[in-house]
Symmetry: C2
Amino acid sequence: MNVENSKSQMRKGMLEYCILLLLKSGPAYSNDIIRSLKEANMIVVDGTLYPLLSRLKKDGLLGYNWEESTQGPPRKYYRLSPAGREWLESLDVAWEELTQTVSMLKESHRRADADGNREAETDNNEQNNQ
Amino acid sequence: MNVENSKSQMRKGMLEYCILLLLKSGPAYSNDIIRSLKEANMIVVDGTLYPLLSRLKKDGLLGYNWEESTQGPPRKYYRLSPAGREWLESLDVAWEELTQTVSMLKESHRRADADGNREAETDNNEQNNQ
DNA sequence: TTTACTACCTTGCAAAACAAAGTAGTAAAA
DNA sequence: TTTTACTACTTTGTTTTGCAAGGTAGTAAA
C-alpha cells in the first residue's frame, strides 16, 4: 500500500465528472479524451474509458456519431446530450460541496468535544501492534 | 442510475483523506468521526468506517487506545501516527492537484483540435439508440 | 500480401463502500 | 436477580468500478 494508491483513489471518483466537463466544450473520441485527461494529470487507459463511455451512453448522458478518419478506422465521437448537461450541472454543485467539505475539515471545524467525553490523550492501554 | 449515485462516487474517493484530515485535529472514536463527517456532508455508516479504520491502522497511518466510557462499552480512540501525518501531507498535495485539474477542465483548457481532425458536428450517422 | 497502426470491445481480477447481521459488554428497568 | 435497551466494535456478502491484458477488425504503408 503506497500513497499513489490513495491518490488514484481520489481521482477515481472524479473521472466521470471530468469526462463530462471535457465533453462540454465539444465532441471528442476516445483518444482525444485520454490525451486531454493526461494533460490535466488524470491518468486513464482505454480499458477504463470504453466501459465508462458505454455506461454514460446507456444512461442517456452521451450520444455519439461515427466519423471517418483520414488515417485509420472510423471513430466514435461522443458529445453531451441535453440530459448530460443537466447531469453535469448537478455534479458541478456536488463538486462545490466537496471542496467546501474539505475546506471545513482543513480548518479543524470539528466540534472537538460535543459529548464532553474526550480524555483520549491519556496514555493508558496504548496499542500500536499488528 | 441517478445523480446521487454519481455524487456519492465523488465523495467515496475522498473518504480516506477526510478521515485523516479530521484526525489531524485530535483523537476521535467511530461515532465522533461519523458525526463530524455528517456535519460536513459526507455520509458514512459504520459498516464503511470500521473496515477503513482497520486498514489505515494496519498500514501504520493510525494508532489507537481504548478509553472507558461513562455510558456503555469502551471506545477505540484513533489518532494520526507520524507516518499518517506524512501520508496526509501527500494527500494534501494530491488534493491541490485535483482541484487544479478540475479548474483546468472547467476553463475548457482542452486543445480543441490537436490533430486537425474534428468535424464531429456534422450530423451524419447519428446514433442515439441504447 | 504482409506488416504496422489505430480504434473499439471484452474478460477477469482486485479494491472498496455499503447493507445487514452478529457479538459482547454496560446499565437501567422489571 | 433477570430482562431489556443501548452502545461499540466486527464480519460477511454484494455490487460497483478501475484497470491490465488480450482480442477483433479495418486501413494504409512497406
